[in-house]
Amino acid sequence: MSAPHVIVIGAGSTGAATAHDLALRGLRVTVLERGEIANCTTGRNHCLLHSGGRYCVKDQESAIECIDENMILRRIMPDALELNDGLFVALTEEDLAFKEKFIAGCEKCHIPYREIPVKRALELEPFLNPKILAAVQVPDGVFEPFRFCLAFLATARKNGAVVRTYTEVTELARSGQSITGVKIRDHRTGKMEVIGADMVVNATGPWAEKIAAMGGVDVPVSPTAGVMVTVNKRLNNMVVNRLDKPSDGDIVVPQRMTSIIGTTSWIILDPDQIEIPKDHIERMIQKGREMLPAIQYAVTRGVGAAARPLIRKANADEREVSRTFECFDHKHDGVEGFVTISGGKTTTARGMAEKVTDVVCAKLGHQAECHTRTTPLLSYRLFYN
């Protein structure tokens, strides 16, 4: 008897990592993605391999997920990470007052940190604002979102998974109260098909609500957009963060020849229609300059926005909503054969995959342990062979 067949909808970081975990546990896997790999939320994210420092005061659950996954990814992911750490810098007395909370948060969430003298910080990062009052180093890093996904998918493919891009799910197929597969349109040929499955995993990030609705169920995911501004000079080696609770324009992530300033946060209705407010771009540049004044001399290279999938909680403002993730087994909504995994960060994609794959295996009665913590991924290049 062949192994159960699982369809994963979405080839962003969550879908890619989930395909890898499912395939490693011996399931037959088909990944369906309407466009290119990582063409939406993951592709356009900030490229930050979180140390958890950003969340260690206000959202410790997410901070712990981040540092744990950060350490795992360092060991399993070749070629797609820059491991240059991050600096949290204080610019005002208020920031300085936040430092004790920040350090306590790092300790609570077992995030390695060290305070470095301002003079040393300025030697390490010559473009930093010379007026900084304190600097704390943490193990942030930078990844390549597109290649991050390719590494998971290359490995999944080696283990038998089928990855179909430009293949859009138009409907979920059902029989009574069970989802039995998907109806798709292959944009390469224009042909419609039905693909059967023992389980369908909705890994579509901020589109989770739309796909869930095809199954007649609801998931509490709010698409929340954020703007990023990329300048044409690399002004920092480490990730530079403002030593304060998360707010607009408080982080500059270096990548290749560029520095990327981020980010804002506002709830949107449709993740396919994001209008970038002009004042957000100006605010990014203004706030970024406070930490790295040389941004004023750099030329903007690109402006992008993507929708994050935030799990809705009652009475919470979008900055206060936890960045943690959740798996929804829709049997609780009266629908079998269908689960949704959403929320989270690209940094925590492997952990998200473990959680949803545990649920899928339990539902299918398929006994297999998770080995993704210790299994090295193939080079992303091997996706193309």
Binding site: N84, R114, Y166
Partner: protein, 251 residues
């Protein structure tokens, strides 16, 4: 402020004839060309196939031919693309098999690099401080932070633009191509191992190597990341000729 943009896009679906389609889309006045392509998808036709991910010239997926020249549409503004013309023309890259619309199959790019036994790596380019980075210096196992050299991804983003722009590639498939030869050149610079070096030089000297290049310099002209593959090819030629002259002198 929003503006109306006219464009002509290449359309192709397996089993049907390629054609050009004209569109008008509304985008912000400071939009880039990738936003125009995305607007065709969101405002006119959700079956349009195009590649894109990062929107800041790091993933290398979105490369197309814009008005006849290879470009990354994520970093070309609409104003630039429309300078002196009524409409912009968007076509897929050349010298790759066509999948559909603006999407090409890029497998050959990675195969050619793998064939050279060396690829442009992501972990060895000197950083701002000029220090190379060693994998062993990754974050200490015991979780302590320490001073260690920075690293950064290579400039090459594997976008395929140099392959599309190369006149030799359009004449023959038996050529490593600009990115592949730039990778060999980088590999030679990086290694201290003489045998590895001569093996790489022999590759560059071989059937798919530097002598096939027509010295058109189109690759360097088109490269959005200033990798300068043509200079790498010329440097390899100089080294090969110098070696041959040396050999000749030695008799």
């Amino acid at each position: 402020m929003s503006i109306q943009v006219s464009l002509k896009a290449f359309r192709y679906q397996a089993g049907s004839k390629p054609r050009f389609e004209r569109y008008q889309v509304t985008v912000p006045d400071d939009a880039n060309v990738i936003d125009v392509i995305e607007a065709v998808w969101s405002q006119h036709d959700r079956t349009l196939m195009f590649r894109h991910a990062c929107h800041h010239a790091s993933c290398g997926t979105c490369a197309v031919r814009l008005n006849g020249y290879e470009k990354l549409p994520c970093i070309v503004s609409v104003k630039e693309a429309l300078a002196g013309r009524e409409e912009m023309v968007i076509e897929p890259l050349r010298n790759f098999p066509l999948v559909g619309d603006l999407v090409v199959e890029v497998v050959s790019f990675f195969q050619k690099q793998a064939a050279s036994g060396m690829v442009i790596t992501r972990e060895a380019e000197p950083s701002l401080d000029g220090q190379p980075y060693q994998r062993s210096e990754v974050f200490a196992e015991d979780g302590t932070l320490d001073d260690r050299p920075y690293n950064r991804f290579e400039n090459c983003i594997e976008c395929g633009i140099c392959i599309s722009a190369c006149p030799t590639m359009s004449a023959t498939d038996k050529f490593f191509g600009p990115a592949g030869l730039a990778a060999i050149h980088r590999a030679i610079q990086k290694t201290d191992d003489h045998r590895q070096k001569s093996w790489l030089l022999a590759l560059a000297d071989g059937e798919q190597g530097v002598w096939r290049c027509h010295s058109a310099f189109e690759c360097t002209e088109a490269c959005p990341q200033n990798v300068n593959p043509a200079e790498a090819i010329m440097a390899l030629r100089r080294e090969l000729i110098a070696n041959k002259v040396k050999k000749l002198m030695r008799g």
